[in-house]
Amino acid sequence: MAVITRDLHLAVRQGGATFLALVFFLLTVTLFPLGIGPEPAILARVAPGVLWVAALLAAMLSLDRLFQADFEDGSLEQLTLSGLPLGGIVLAKIIAHWLTTGLPLLLAAPILAVLLNMNTEGFAALLLTMLIGTPALSLIGAIGAALTLTVRRGGVLLSLLVLPLYIPVLIFGVSAIDAAVHGLNAKPHVLLLAALTLAAIPLCPWAAAAAVKLSLE
């Protein structure tokens, strides 16, 4: 869709945002060995949780970009008036957001997993859960981003609204990796995570579109 290409084009031209999310991800993960100590066994034990928490925060911090800039310069209004259904526009923007944040985070995660001495058995599960789970982060986050559009300096409020809703993604994502690391069956965890994302695909754009409409009134 034209809206996805537009957002991707803008992201490439403006640059920076994807890079910042990645650097944030890297930096947060780096803090853990410094905070906990460099012992490989401990790091390997906490690696899945650390990676997911850091990815969660990085995805959340990039959310304000989703609608805010377009809201401020009037583009969001023009998009709404383009004659396309608003839910579709919102979904397109969410997809573009995932392509510019979720996907890079997913690609960076294995490298950071190596830094944390994560057990190699967990790598496939890490990639798989990130692939399934990060779209849910963009989807759920879109609701928070849309609700806080009219709020000045809505960043803190955004995290308060969105983080509790991220908890199930975190739990299922980490438990799947843990299961894989310990040689257990990761499938039920992955399936639950997939169910979560699939449920979010129709519901979140709809709720976010309602919130966007509200902010334009």
Binding site: A2, V3, T5, R6, H9, L10, R13, Q14, E72, D73, G74, S75, E77, Q78, L79, T80, L81, S82, G83, L84, P85, L216, E217
Partner: protein, 202 residues
């Protein structure tokens, strides 16, 4: 025919205006007048389906526009206070993006830029443009993707005399082409044969 019957508008918990009627036939232009805060922008936003009417009805050829807002949106252009021009993109890219989203032909982009005298800026990133040039790029969208109803909110802000003349010409061509215009403006657009709707503060 675009009509409003007995429209009322609330902002916050305050009634801005009520009992407003208007109609615009193909080829006609309606100019909204009135002091600040009397609801000109609100009325335009209602006509664009961005704002709900507190009472009354807006109809297009007799059908309520609230019933199928997407269809109504596809036939209108709303030029707002904000230009919706992305500074990272060139002028041509800016106009082309909206043409693509609205599904109109690329061939019109050059015509549109020429009509507003910004053809020589086509490949300049919008961040180097002046406020007036920004506005011209926003107005060029009117030509680049055709729509019947133009809703213009203070379209001449930051335009120079030449820019205003371009806009006048565009409006005249649009009306000759059976288009409709609804504009809020403080200054004379220099157009003859327009209806004037005077909004009174309550």
């Amino acid at each position: 025919m675009f009509q409003g019957h007995d429209i009322a508008c609330d902002r916050g918990e305050r009634r801005i205006f009520s009992g407003l009627d208007f109609q615009i036939a193909p080829g006609q232009a309606l100019v909204l007048r009135g002091p600040n805060g009397c609801g000109k922008t609100s009325l335009l936003r209602m006509a664009a389906t961005l704002l709900k009417t507190a009472a009354g009805q807006l109809t297009w050829d007799g059908a309520d526009i609230a019933e199928d807002p997407e269809e109504h949106r596809a036939r209108l252009h709303y030029v707002a206070h904000q230009d919706a021009v992305k500074s990272a993109l060139t002028v041509r890219e800016n106009i082309a993006t909206w043409s693509k989203i609205r599904g109109s032909a690329d061939a019109r982009i050059d015509t549109a830029m020429a009509a507003f005298g910004i053809a020589h800026l086509a490949d300049t990133p919008a961040q180097y443009l002046s406020a007036g040039q920004h506005r011209r790029a926003a107005l060029a969208r009117l030509i680049a993707s055709p729509a019947t109803l133009w809703l213009l909110d203070e379209p001449t802000v930051s335009l120079d005399a030449d820019g205003t003349a371009c806009l006048q010409q565009a409006i005249m061509d649009h009306r000759a082409d059976k288009g409709m215009v609804m504009a809020a403006t403080h200054i004379e657009l220099g157009l003859d044969d327009v209806e004037i709707l005077q909004l009174k503060p309550q």
